[in-house]
């Protein structure tokens, strides 16, 4: 049951009547009884909420940063018209709107309502409840009830780095010889024989074939195909750190009401909610860019950035798209202490779709990654030699005890490429000069960079490739590293 403003208005206006009534005590009692009677009548004659039937339809997948419409079909099997308000409740980060919708379903009919979701982060978003407030004929009181209408929308990684894909694909075509430039690599596969044209490398002339035919014939080469690329995503605690500037705007609470239900940040040590961050974002963006010389600790403190995990996923998606076009097979493993996700054997055409689907619900766990277990998982899954792309952080403390001792097991059987997201904030701090605070911060930043450089050198000594790039550059840098490995025939 719920009341409306009219009930309050009747009670308030009644006070004037009581003031001038000859028997005010009886007037109060009479008004109370009148209000009670009106409310009772209204509730009795309001359309029933419990018998309503709901069905959902629409999209189940949405890429982060885009919006999606979910439709709700309300069917009224009762004998009275259901007229009032409907709220389709979703988690706050689903960005559902509008908050309230008007509902008017005559008896025996059905209506279609549309809720637009604009999710603010990756993962599965479950519809919570549909609440209907059905007003009575007088508009004084209403019946109210909730229904559970299950629906899940999976928010996929945005794959922002797909803008780099055409450039990398043209590089790939150069390798494959479809491009006019011919590349003769050492480890490349023999493709076919064709007639010599001026400009061909004389070293590629096939003398035996030339002898058989009256013409000079050269061998052409193409990069090897059907290699395996295993992308390993570290979802441990270092993946939760936020880096750079989030390319996805935080959720803005739709609807005019400011009294939004506060989301409880159960897993968060800070009260960082999607709703509370929203109004600060534009302010932070302008102040950080307009005042490069001010104290850096405060300018960046409000901008949460984007988790390393999401930047890594972006790079992994570009790599997977490129590798599947290049004819390689892409497997995917997400691991912290146990295997979080494992994808293998997807066909080349749908490997990217399967990959985003697998990646969508992965969140960083606040535990130290277990590298030994990760290496064991990789070794048990990858029987043949493959390129293991390890997306993690070059955290000296974690690497010294975690990955480095077990890396030889991995690098002896596979080619290992370690890709890490560098923090642009550290580079910014390292350039700080002028005041003692900034210089001390610069020293701390140089300390970390020195450690990362030493770690990179150690990894290279183990025979690993290392890509350490700023968040925006990681995806193209990783793609370039893959292409250069492919050109060199090291896959």
């Amino acid at each position: 049951m719920a009341l409306t403003g009219r009930a309050g208005l009747i009670a308030a206006l009644g006070a004037i009547g009581v003031l001038f009534a000859p028997r005010p005590g009886y007037a109060v009692l009479g008004l109370l009884l009148l209000l009670g009677a009106l409310v009772t009548v209204d509730v009795l004659f309001a359309g029933g909420v419990r018998p309503l039937r709901f069905r959902r339809g629409g999209e189940r997948l949405v890429r982060l940063g885009e919006s999606v419409e979910v439709e709700l079909i309300v069917e009224n099997p009762g004998r009275r018209r259901v007229k009032g308000t409907l709220r389709d409740a979703w988690p706050p980060s689903a960005g559902a709107g509008p908050r309230h919708q008007r509902l008017d379903v005559p008896a025996g009919e059905r209506r279609r309502l549309v809720t637009t979701l604009r999710p603010a982060r990756r993962g599965d978003r479950d519809a919570v409840a549909v609440t209907v407030r059905s007003l009575g004929p007088l508009g004084i009181a209403a019946r109210q009830g909730s229904h559970r209408v299950p629906w899940t929308v999976r928010v996929l990684p945005p794959f922002l780095s797909r803008k780099h894909l055409p450039a990398k694909l043209s590089k790939l075509r150069e390798l494959e010889g479809q491009h006019p430039a011919l590349v003769r690599g050492q480890g490349t596969e023999f493709d076919s024989l064709r007639e010599y044209v001026v400009g061909d490398d004389v070293r590629s002339i096939d003398w035996r074939a030339t002898a058989r035919r009256a013409d000079v014939v050269v061998r052409t080469w193409r990069p090897e195909r059907d290699r395996r690329v295993l992308i390993v995503l570290d979802t441990g605690r270092t993946a939760a750190g936020r880096v750079g500037v989030s390319p996805i705007p935080a959720a803005v609470e739709p609807g005019p009401r400011s009294g939004a239900p506060a989301p409880a940040a159960a897993g968060s040590p800070r009260p960082g909610t999607s709703a509370s961050v929203a109004p600060e974002r534009p302010h932070v963006g302008t102040s950080a860019s307009a005042a490069p010389g001010r104290h850096l600790g405060t300018s960046a403190s409000a901008a949460p950035g984007w988790p390393r995990l999401d930047w890594s996923m972006d790079a992994a998606l570009l790599l997977a798209a490129l590798a599947s076009r290049a004819g390689d097979r892409v497997d995917f493993l997400a691991h912290d202490r146990t295997v979080r996700a494992w994808m293998s054997g997807a066909s080349r055409t749908d490997s990217l779709a399967a990959l985003v689907n697998v990646m969508a619900p992965i969140e960083a766990e606040l535990v130290e990654a277990d590298s030994a277990s990760m290496v064991a998982a990789v070794l048990s899954r990858a029987k043949r030699r493959c390129l293991v792309v390890l997306l993690t952080d070059l955290n000296p403390a974690a690497m010294d005890e975690g990955l480095l001792p077990v890396l030889p097991q991995l690098s002896s059987r596979h080619l290992v490429l370690v890709a890490a997201v560098a923090d642009p904030r550290v580079a910014e701090m390292a350039a700080g000069r002028g005041t003692a605070e900034l210089v001390y911060d610069a020293a701390a930043a140089e300390h970390l960079r020195g450690q990362r450089a030493r770690l990179t050198a150690r990894l290279r000594r183990h025979g690993c490739e290392v890509v350490d790039a700023a968040p925006d550059d990681l995806a193209p840098a990783l793609a370039d590293a893959y292409l250069s490995l492919k050109a060199a025939g090291r896959l």
């Binding site: 719920a2 009341l3 409306t4 403003g5 009644g14 006070a15 009581v18 003031l19 009534a21 005010p24 005590g25 007037a27 008004l31 419990r50 339809g57 189940r60 997948l61 308000t85 709220r87 409740a89 979703w90 706050p92 919570v128 409840a129 609440t131 009830g145 899940t152 750190g241 936020r242 880096v243 239900p261 159960a266 968060s268 040590p269 960046a300 950035g305 390393r308 979080r340 996700a341 494992w342 994808m343 293998s344 689907n357 697998v358 969140e363 606040l366 904030r425 550290v426 701090m429 000069r433 003692a436 001390y440 911060d441 610069a442 020293a443 701390a444 930043a445 140089e446 300390h447 020195g450």
Partner: protein, 394 residues
Amino acid sequence: MTLTAPPPAATSAPAPSMSASPTARSMWRGSRGVILLGLIVVLVAALTALLTGTSTEGRRLDPADATLTGGKALAQILQRRGVRVERVSTVEDVVRLDGPGSLLLVSDTSFLDPVDFTRLSRTQAHRLIVGAVPGLEVLAPGVAPAGAAAPRSREPRCDLPAAVRAGSAYLGGTAFTGPRGSIGCYPGSEGPSLVVSPGARTVTVVGDGAFMTNQRLAEDGNAALAINLAGVRPVLIWLVPPDLPQVTPGSGRASAGDLIPAGIPWAVLQLGIAVLVVAFWRGRRLGPVVVERLPVVVRAAETVEGRGRLYRARRARDRASATLRAACVSRLTPRLGLSGDATPNEIIAATALRTGQDAVWVRSVMYGPIPADDAGLIALAGHLDTLERQVREP
């Protein structure tokens, strides 16, 4: 294709909707325990109230009051013995009933003013005054309080027939000194707590009225003493404070509350009801509060910032300068065409050659002593930047 994380069930039929609101039956089931508990509490409270009786404050020595401190028992005994007990609250009533055959009993004079005392003192009725009341010197000339005496059971120790016949009684309260010719009974260390001044009208003063209350009347000789003192005349004028201070509009004694029209408190009550209704209207949420587990928000640069703050807090110029120098050297060596294991002397020589700076100065910047203060550290950072820039753009 094997997937550990299952995609949303896109192919399965949409699950039917179900009502999540509680039904009347489930609400009854859920709340019947609470209702039962509330009923038990109310029942116990009602039983306790019935068994212990009213605990309201009684009116002390009022002939119409049946509480422990009242005087209804004494009034009824006297009436049964043929005494006409008149309960009055105004001096006018006292004057109307006044006469030589009456006895005036006064236990509280706080509601009387000096004019009333004078009028009372002119009456012919005999007097029984309880306690050292205000106006005692007017009502009982010559009797003055002499000190406090603990109320307890006392022996008469005097010749007053009423006291002697009654025997020991619960007296005390105040001790008095009487005028010449008066009789003092039930004495304590300070003096008698019952004084009788005989004359045309007998004036009796007792230190405490507890022996006449409903509670104590049955003890000792209390009842006998009370009857002997109060029941000696055919009419007993029992003066008690008025029930309610009587205020008439226009008398100048009305408070602000008396002047408010009767409708206003009721209108305020009605407004209160309206506030409740509005509160229920605004307070009813449309559906549940939705909670969500959000991922942790930790900026990756926090550890570096923390290290910077630690350096600053401890003024760690040694570590800061060493780190800055090492970073500069590691960037300069490849640019100078030196290998990673070049000695400091080689690096200094190459840098000095490339930049044209003095080798001693270059050495002091790159391998010199730890800066003595923060200004020195800032200067060192600037010098390192200068060197790097000059190596980059000779």
